[in-house]
C-alpha cells in the first residue's frame, strides 16, 4: 500500500499564435480541404467516365444484335413436297424438306441464276433458320398446304451484317463508246473498237497490277469494277483499253453491242478481299434490297431460342432459364442455412474458442477464389454423390457454397444492428430467448438480411469459374426443363460466344452482356428498394 500523494497539476505551456500566424494556418488548412475535395470529386468523375465509356461501348456493340433482316418472298407450299399422301400427319409434315421450298422461293425472287457455284452462293444469303420457321408455320396451320404465302425468310449472318453495315459502297458512271458482249452468261469478253475501257485502265493503273497478254489483271484487294449492260452485270477480271474479260454476275438479256449511255461502269468501293460478302452475293443482296422485300425486324428470336452455331439463330433463352434454375437452388439453400447459422452464432452460441475459430473461418471463406468451390463441387457432388454433369442443381449447390459466407456475414451484421433493448423488452415481458429472437429480432433484421442475400445472389449471377469444373461451360441447344437437365448460365454463354470467330457473334456477346447487366441492375435496385421500404432507424 502506498499513499497517493496529491501532485500539483502539471503546467502546460501555452503558445498562443499571433493573429497573423493563425490566419495563414487556417488558410492552409482550408486549402488542404479544398484540394482533398477536388481530388475526391475528380476521382469520382473519372470513375463515372470510365463506367460511361464501358457502358456506351457495350451498348453500341449490342444494338445491331437486337434486329434481324428477313426477305419477304412468295413461298409455294407444294403438297408434293410437304404432304405427298395428303393425310396431314404431323410426323410427315415435320420431316418434309422445307429447305427445298425456301430455296425455290429464292430462285424465283432472283431469276436467271445458273451454275452450281452461283446457286450455292445464292442459297448462302438465306439462313438455314428460314426452313425451320416455315416448318413451324405449316405445323401450326396445315391448311396452308397448297397455297402460296408471303413469308419473311431470315437472312444469313453475313447478309444481315451486310445490310447493317456500309455495304459495298457502289457507285456508277455512264460509259462512252460502244462495247460488245461475246455471250450473255459465264465467262465473257467485252470488246470495244473505240477504246471504251481506256478511262478504267487509267484509274486502276495506280495499283501495282500484273499484265497478262496486254490486259491488266484486277485483284481482290482493290475496289471491284463491274460493267452493267443489256440488263445484266459483268464483273471484270482483266482489262485493256480495247477489251475486258469477266464473269457474268447477273445474266444479260442478250449478247451483243451496247452503245453510249446504254451501259455503265459500276464500282464497288469496298474491296472484295475486305468483305465477308463477295461480289456475287452482293449483287443478289442489292437486288433483293432494290425490289423492296428486305425488312428489318426486332430480333425476338434472341430471347426465345437456345444456343446455336448460326449467329442469326442463337438466343439466350436456354442460358436465362439455366440461370434462373441455378439461382433458385442457390437461394433455397443459402437463405435458410445462412440465416439460421447467423442467428445461432449471434444469439445463441457460447463465446468460446470454437465459435471464434468458426467465425474467423467464415470470414476467410468469403475471400476464397471461386474456382476452388468448383473443384470442391467436382470432387464432392459429381464424383462422390454421382450427380449429373452440367446440371443446374450442381451449379446451384456450388454457388450456394460460394455465397453462403457472404450471406452469413451480412445476416450477422443485420442481427447485430437490432438494439439490445428490443431483446431485453421481450425477455422482460416473459418471452423465451427463442421467442425474442424469432418474434422480434429477426423481423427487424430482415431488410438487412434481404439486402445481403440479393447482393450475394448478384455475385453468384456473375460467376463462371466454378462452373467450368462441373461441366456447365458447354454448348447446349435445348432449353433446360428441370434441375437435372444440362444447362448453362448467362455469364458462361457470354464467355462462349466471345470466343467464336464469326463477326456476328461479337454483337451477340455484347447483347448478352447488356441483358446480364440489366439483371444485375434489377437485383441491386430491388435490394435498395427493400432496404428503403423496410429499414427502421433507432
Amino acid at each position: 500500500m502506498t499513499d497517493i500523494v496529491p501532485q500539483p497539476a502539471p503546467v502546460i505551456p501555452v503558445r498562443r499564435p499571433s493573429a497573423e500566424q493563425s490566419a495563414t494556418r487556417l488558410k492552409s488548412r482550408y486549402a488542404v480541404e479544398r484540394r482533398f475535395k477536388a481530388l475526391g470529386l475528380g476521382s469520382l468523375m473519372l470513375t463515372g467516365l470510365f463506367l460511361l465509356l464501358l457502358l456506351a461501348n457495350i451498348t453500341l456493340n449490342a444494338i445491331p444484335a437486337f434486329s434481324e433482316h428477313a426477305a419477304v418472298m412468295d413461298v409455294t407450299l407444294d403438297p408434293a413436297v410437304i404432304d405427298p399422301d395428303g393425310k396431314k400427319d404431323p410426323a410427315i409434315l415435320a420431316a418434309a424438306d422445307y429447305a427445298s421450298l425456301t430455296r425455290a422461293a429464292l430462285m424465283t425472287a432472283i431469276p436467271g441464276v445458273e451454275g452450281r457455284a452461283a446457286k450455292k452462293q445464292l442459297a448462302s444469303v438465306m439462313s438455314s433458320g428460314a426452313a425451320d420457321d416455315l416448318r413451324a408455320k405449316v405445323l401450326a396451320d396445315p391448311s396452308l398446304i397448297g397455297k402460296t404465302i408471303k413469308f419473311p425468310m431470315l437472312l444469313s449472318d453475313d447478309a444481315d451484317l451486310y445490310f447493317k453495315g456500309e455495304g459495298v459502297k457502289a457507285s456508277s458512271r455512264p460509259g462512252t463508246g460502244t462495247i460488245t458482249a461475246s455471250d450473255s452468261k459465264g465467262q465473257i469478253t467485252l470488246t470495244s473498237a473505240d477504246n471504251a475501257f481506256a478511262a478504267l485502265t487509267d484509274t486502276v493503273s495506280k495499283f501495282d497490277l500484273e499484265k497478262d497478254d496486254g490486259g491488266l489483271v484486277l485483284k481482290s484487294s482493290m475496289p471491284s469494277h463491274l460493267v452493267a449492260l443489256n440488263g445484266g452485270l459483268v464483273k471484270l477480271s482483266k482489262i485493256s483499253p480495247s477489251s475486258a474479260t469477266g464473269e457474268v454476275l447477273t445474266p444479260l438479256t442478250s449478247a451483243g453491242p451496247a452503245v453510249g449511255s446504254a451501259w455503265q461502269f459500276v464500282t464497288y468501293g469496298a474491296p472484295e478481299g475486305n468483305r465477308q460478302v463477295n461480289d456475287q452475293a452482293a449483287t443478289f443482296l442489292e437486288k433483293l434490297k432494290a425490289s423492296g422485300v428486305v425488312q428489318k425486324n426486332f430480333n425476338w428470336r434472341f430471347f426465345t431460342s437456345g444456343d446455336s452455331r448460326e449467329p442469326e439463330l442463337a438466343g439466350i433463352r436456354g442460358a436465362l432459364v439455366g440461370t434462373f434454375l441455378t439461382l433458385l437452388v442457390t437461394l433455397s439453400l443459402c437463405v435458410p442455412i445462412g440465416v439460421l447459422a447467423a442467428i445461432y452464432l449471434e444469439e445463441f452460441a457460447p463465446k468460446n474458442w470454437l465459435t471464434h475459430i468458426i467465425e474467423v473461418n467464415i470470414n476467410n471463406l468469403a475471400a476464397v477464389p471461386s474456382i476452388v468451390f468448383g473443384l470442391l463441387g467436382l470432387a464432392v457432388f459429381l464424383n462422390y454423390f454421382g450427380l449429373p454433369r452440367s446440371a443446374p442443381l450442381v451449379g446451384g449447390l456450388v454457388l450456394a457454397l460460394l455465397v453462403l459466407p457472404t450471406i452469413i456475414i451480412a445476416a450477422r451484421a443485420a442481427i447485430k444492428s437490432v438494439p439490445p433493448s428490443i431483446r431485453e423488452a421481450a425477455i422482460g415481458l416473459g418471452a423465451s430467448k427463442q421467442q425474442a429472437v424469432f418474434h422480434h429480432v429477426l423481423p427487424l433484421a430482415m431488410p438487412g438480411i434481404m439486402t445481403g442475400t440479393i447482393i450475394g445472389m448478384a455475385h453468384a449471377l456473375g460467376e463462371t469459374a466454378p462452373l467450368l469444373m462441373i461441366g456447365m461451360i458447354a454448348f447446349i441447344v435445348d432449353v433446360p426443363k428441370g434441375l437435372t437437365d444440362a444447362a448453362t448460365v448467362l455469364p458462361v454463354q457470354i464467355f462462349l460466344w466471345s470466343d467464336l470467330p464469326e463477326a456476328a457473334f461479337q454483337q451477340r456477346t455484347a447483347a448478352a452482356i447488356v441483358v446480364l447487366l440489366a439483371f444485375l441492375l434489377l437485383m441491386n435496385g430491388a435490394a435498395i428498394w427493400l432496404r428503403n421500404k423496410f429499414e427502421r432507424r433507432w
Binding site: 452455331r309 437463405v335 435458410p336 461441366g471 458447354a474 441447344v477 435445348d478 434441375l483 470467330p501
Partner: protein, 354 residues
C-alpha cells in the same frame, strides 16, 4: 414462428431435391468434352445432328488436356462419349485410358487448322521463315559459334536486314492453350532444327536421353517481345487492330473471319490461304481430332449416327458446312480414309503414339 416454418420447408425441399436427383435416369444425350479449337466445329455438327431428329449432344469446352482427363475417366453412362483434341492423343493419355478400362478408342481426323501469324491490314507485308520466328521468340538462341545465348534480337531487322526495322512484338496464346502447344511444335521446334548446333544437341539428347533441345524450343522469351494475350483469339484480333506494328498468332478461322482487318504472314514463301493449308503446302498447320469411345456405341443412343454425321461429305467435305465455319478440309483421299476408319469403328492401336 412463420419465418422459421418457411425456412424449414425450404431447407427440406432443397434436401429432398438433392436426394431425388441422385437417381438420374438413363442418358439419351451424347456428351462431348475437349479442345476449345475443335469446339466450334463439333458444336456445328451437334446442332445439325439435333436438327435431323437426334437429341442435340452437349459439347463442353474444357481444353484438349482437360478433355482427355475426363474422357479417360472410364466407361459408363456417367462418363463422356467423345473428346475434341487439337493434337493427337499422347501415349501417356492412351495408357491412362486403358488403365481405366477405356480400351477401344476410335480416332477421327476431322480436318486441319492452320496456325497463322498475322498483322493488321495496311502494315507492310512481310515474309517469315520458321527459323526467323524461332530467332525472334526463343528465350535462348545460338550465336555465330553455335553457343546458346540469351535472345539478343530487339528488332526484326536485327534478325535479317530484309525484315522491317520494327520492334519485335508478338501477341500469342498463354501456355495453357492447345494453340500454344501447336505453335511450339510447328514453328519453334522446326525453326530450331534449322541450326546446326541445335541439331547436334537434338542428336545428343537422343543418345543420352536428356531434354536439352526440348528445353530450347519450348522456352519463349519473357522480356516483353512475346505478349500472352489470353485464350480468346478475338482479343488478339482487337489488339492487332490497335497496334499496327504487332504480330499475332491464332487459328486460321479467325484470319478468315477478319479478312477486312488482318493480313496473314507468308511462312517460307507460302501464304496462309485455304488452298495452301488444305494441300499441305503451308507449314504451320495441324490436324484436328475427335476421339470416340467404341464401348459406348450401342449404349448411348445415336452415337454411331453422330460419328456418321461428322464424317459425312456435307460436314467435313470441301463444300461442307464445317468449311464455312473455318475448318480447312482434308485432301480428298484423306477424307476417304477418315470416313472408312470412322464408319468401321477401327480402334486405335497406340503403337505409334508419342
Amino acid at each position: 414462428m412463420s419465418i422459421l416454418k418457411q425456412a424449414n420447408t425450404l431447407a427440406l425441399a432443397a434436401a429432398s431435391l438433392v436426394a431425388l436427383s441422385g437417381a438420374a435416369t438413363a442418358r439419351d444425350q451424347i456428351r462431348i468434352v475437349g479442345s476449345s479449337t475443335v469446339y466450334p466445329f463439333t458444336t456445328a455438327v451437334a446442332e445439325q445432328f439435333g436438327k435431323a431428329g437426334g437429341k442435340t449432344p452437349i459439347v463442353e469446352s474444357t481444353g484438349t488436356g482437360g478433355g482427355m482427363k475426363i474422357f479417360c475417366e472410364g466407361v459408363g453412362e456417367d462418363k463422356a462419349d467423345a473428346t475434341n483434341a487439337s493434337r493427337r492423343i499422347k501415349k501417356s493419355e492412351f495408357e491412362l485410358c486403358a488403365k481405366n478400362g477405356v480400351t477401344d478408342i476410335v480416332e477421327v481426323k476431322v480436318g486441319i487448322d492452320g496456325l497463322t501469324i498475322a498483322h493488321a491490314k495496311g502494315a507492310k507485308a512481310v515474309k517469315l521463315t520458321r527459323k526467323q520466328v524461332f530467332q525472334a521468340l526463343a528465350e535462348q538462341v545460338p550465336d555465330k559459334d553455335g553457343k546458346l545465348v540469351a535472345n539478343p534480337y530487339k528488332m526484326w531487322s536485327d534478325i535479317d536486314a530484309a525484315l522491317p526495322a520494327l520492334k519485335i512484338e508478338v501477341l500469342g496464346p498463354p501456355p495453357t492453350s492447345g494453340t500454344r502447344d501447336s505453335f511450339h511444335e510447328l514453328f519453334m521446334e522446326k525453326g530450331a532444327e534449322e541450326f546446326e548446333s541445335l541439331k547436334a544437341m537434338k542428336k545428343a539428347d537422343e543418345e543420352k536421353k536428356t531434354k536439352d533441345f526440348e528445353k530450347v524450343w519450348k522456352s519463349i522469351r519473357k522480356d516483353g517481345a512475346y505478349v500472352e494475350a489470353g485464350e480468346n483469339d478475338n482479343v488478339i484480333v482487337q489488339k492487332l487492330e490497335a497496334n499496327k506494328d504487332a504480330y499475332g498468332i491464332f487459328g486460321y478461322s479467325f484470319l478468315e473471319e477478319n479478312t477486312s482487318k488482318l493480313e496473314g504472314v507468308a511462312i517460307e514463301g507460302v501464304d496462309p490461304t485455304y488452298e495452301n493449308i488444305s494441300a499441305g503446302k503451308y507449314k504451320g498447320a495441324r490436324d484436328l481430332f475427335v476421339y470416340f469411345k467404341k464401348q459406348h456405341v450401342g449404349v448411348i443412343a445415336g452415337l454411331d449416327k453422330f460419328v456418321a454425321e461428322y464424317v459425312s461429305e456435307k460436314a467435313i467435305g470441301e463444300d461442307g458446312y464445317l468449311a464455312k465455319k473455318g475448318l480447312v478440309a482434308l485432301p480428298k483421299d484423306k477424307i476417304e480414309a477418315t470416313r472408312k476408319g470412322a464408319l468401321a469403328m477401327a480402334p486405335l492401336k497406340g503403337d505409334d503414339l508419342k
